[in-house]
Symmetry: C2
Subunit: 478 residues, 2 copies
């Protein structure tokens, strides 16, 4: 593609700029049709998906609009995207957690493959590198038949730890294999780290809303949660966090700085540094969940909080469940100065992680294809999320708010007050659509008019129809 | 093979009976050589291993003895096998557990494949059905490429739960798939079950000595252990157990009724029934570890304690780590009336167990080859254990005692008082031999002159030499 202006950003952004100029200058007038996606793709020599993404960006900006079975038209008057949610305003008291029953119910539903999966934050089957992974698995099994069927070391497979250490450069770290403990998914990592730094009855400060899986863990360990106001773009509010640890006896803080689940917020690097320094000064352990860090849509990979850790008080947890395999249950942690405790707890908790699966993932990371694959899925997720945001705009009731994540796979939708998310969840399930109701993301079951939508699925008619149905169900509740 | 007496027991027992009569009647006299293993095998038309087993049995009875590079001879005077240990006499006070450091040290050592593995209670590599398992794994991966890479249900893969339920008939159960929760090895099962029925600070009654992995779990969960005297053949002493739960506030009892680790004790069925009834009456949950139940050497499979459970208070835990794959980390639990709590804890602990591995094990169990395989390894383990007991007799110091397990893969050796097991452990490790020192099997670090020996390895010169070395190291400490 040629452009008189200096190329800036992604290709689809360049295409959008070009079309935007044509519209601004009146070359294509209000109400007129813009070139079809296919036509423009041929004209500019770029892919269909690039043109589609650029049109979605223009639609996002209110410049063009889609008309069913016709194409995109220049809008008469800019119609805005739904606004974003505001900074959250959770209850300021620590409380016990009681979401296990609802959470088990929701989990059973989201496992059913005949249900439209807006529930579990899992990648699309066709976006997972399953075939390649299984080819590697077969090869590892043949080459290491004896070793791969034995117990691995409790700390984890050495080659996998080496690969994890090597990739730490990407997020601003400089690990050695001895820093890493492999685990049964990020879940076990979070369990072990929490157990290393707290005892039952302790209070853990969390973002609000917060990943319900973490609340389940708090509940199971008899820990209390203290919610801290969180901004949908910038993450946890530092002033509020500072005030929370001043006013409460906080034993640990849990943060997901990059594309937080469910808000999609990404903390500015300045905030990350300040947060780590503030907590380190007070000697408060910081549990970090970075499972979405590799799934950024633009620019460079955001750093992990761990990158700013000078005192070993950040316990970084992550996994390969969002990028390589949900089913393998292989994750890892870098527990800093709590390494010995975490190693002991790992041995007591599950002895070691499945040997063959660790070996296969190590080889997948080492073989070089992983980064190429990541580039591909980042694009796919960016596009899917854009499509879902547009669908919220088109089909959900007036007054709905929605986040604008720059990475990850989930959207947070805030409906008008009258809509009850748990009712909507049940009504949607009756129509074979799963969503996660907002109250699961709060120990006090707040966010009763919010839902989380998984955008991991490729955009298809089935997905669009499900969004239309969800919108209709919500409208009926008004 | 023909015999004038009515055939009774195993073939090797019949062969032993026949030879025994020839010796008793003076056909072969004291000091004379008995037919070589090969010759007798051809004469009787039975396998070499059958003859070898029968000669070992006769050696066990003190009727014949092996002379290096010569063969077996009728003994001049019966020299007895080392005596068995007595009923254990542990401290009668509950105590906290502190074995994590030693246990992590021991674990790191026993993972090293260049070390003679008398440490970890793992099967011999060549006795594991790895090739068949991997063939099934590959086939499952091809046929269920999409499904097998997804999260499975938190309760566990349905087909695997169905197979586990089906096999419950073997141990006297009658399960349905809904009764079962699959886990990351038996370790996770024990963790979840303990967490379901206790809270930190509670006391759990255990056999003495007891599996050190369980003590690690107690320590990690902040639970106290109360040791109960245990007989090396009959298992826990019922009177002492009754008195323990009368005198202490016991929140749960942990028992391994079949081939207990480390003693190899197998509770008489009558004792099992009484124990379950006694605990059920008092409403005390009974955690059962049955990982060795399938590895009986003679007769029928012993029943699980769970078979006598009428009130749902037995939480049965097991795994496939001793028979199919240590490395897969797939186990299961039948938590009775604590099912809901255990399901919740499983979800919070690791979401679900690795999908592909569960599917492969389910198919391995369903395909029918599993029982055939079990028959083969039971014979192998019986023989290996016999060889190890004979080696203890030949090479270990006078005054050493050793157990006579009727199943499982471990021996418990009690040295004369002067020998310090931890010193012996370190001296052996310097000679590239791993053993587990006795103090790991007691929260109070008793059994300081005992060790556990893994008999999972096929009998080879390397193994015999390691036993000779161990004996020499022990002798030097006297």
């Amino acid at each position: 593609m040629r452009s008189s202006a200096e190329p800036k950003g992604h290709l689809y952004e360049q295409v959008a700029e070009r079309m935007s100029r044509l519209i601004d200058k009146g070359t294509i007038k209000a109400g007129e049709k813009v070139p079809s996606v296919r036509t423009l793709s041929i004209q500019l020599g770029v892919s269909i998906s690039t043109v589609l993404q650029s049109y979605l960006l223009l639609e996002d900006r209110g410049m063009i609009e889609a008309r069913p079975q016709s194409g995109f038209y220049v809008r008469l008057r800019a119609r805005e995207l739904p606004p974003e949610p505001m900074m959250s305003a959770p209850s300021r008291a620590a409380s016990t957690v009681d979401i296990a029953d609802l959470s088990l119910e929701v989990h059973d539903a989201i496992m059913d493959p005949t249900i439209v999966p807006f529930g579990a934050a899992t990648p699309s089957d066709e976006l997972l590198p399953t075939r390649k992974l299984y080819r590697i698995l077969g090869s590892v099994a043949r080459r290491h038949e004896v070793l791969s069927n034995r117990y691995d070391s409790p700390q984890g497979n050495l080659e996998l730890r080496r690969q994890i250490a090597k990739r730490s450069i990407d997020w601003g770290g400089s690990l050695v294999p001895e820093d890493v403990v492999t685990t049964v998914g990020c879940s076990e990592a979070l369990n072990l780290c929490l157990r290393a730094v707290t005892k039952p009855g302790d209070t853990v400060a969390v973002e609000s809303p917060v990943y319900f899986g973490f609340l389940q863990i708090l509940e199971a360990l008899g820990l209390r949660a203290l919610e801290v106001p969180t901004h949908p773009r910038e993450g946890i509010c530092l002033d509020d966090l500072a005030s929370a640890i001043r006013k409460h006896r906080v034993s640990a803080v849990f943060l997901s700085a990059n594309f937080q689940n469910p808000l999609g917020a990404c903390m500015p690097e300045k905030n990350k540094k300040e947060t780590v320094e503030m907590l380190s000064e007070k000697g408060i352990p910081l549990l970090e969940d970075d499972v979405y860090g590799d799934l950024y849509f633009e620019g460079a990979r955001p750093k992990a909080l761990k990158a700013y850790d000078r005192t070993g008080t950040v316990l970084l947890c992550s996994s390969f469940s969002k990028t390589i395999s949900p089913g393998f249950r292989v994750g890892w942690t870098v527990p800093g100065k709590y390494l010995t405790q975490v190693r002991r707890l790992k041995l007591a908790s599950s002895i070691s992680t499945a040997t063959l699966l660790q070996m296969a993932i190590a080889e997948m990371l080492g073989s070089g294809g992983y980064d190429h694959y990541l580039r591909r899925i980042r694009k796919a997720y960016a596009l899917q999320m854009q499509m879902m945001i547009q669908a919220v705009r088109r089909y959900f009731p007036e007054g709905t708010r929605v986040t604008r994540p720059k990475g990850g796979t989930v959207l947070w939708v805030e409906f008008p007050q009258k809509i009850e998310a748990i009712e909507l969840y049940r009504a949607a399930l009756a129509k074979r659509i799963s969503i996660i109701p907002g109250p699961l993301f709060s120990p006090k079951r707040q966010y009763r008019n919010c839902i989380r939508l998984n955008c991991g699925q490729s955009w298809t008619e089935r997905i669009e129809e499900a969004m239309i149905t969800l919108g209709q169900l919500a409208l009926r509740m008004l």
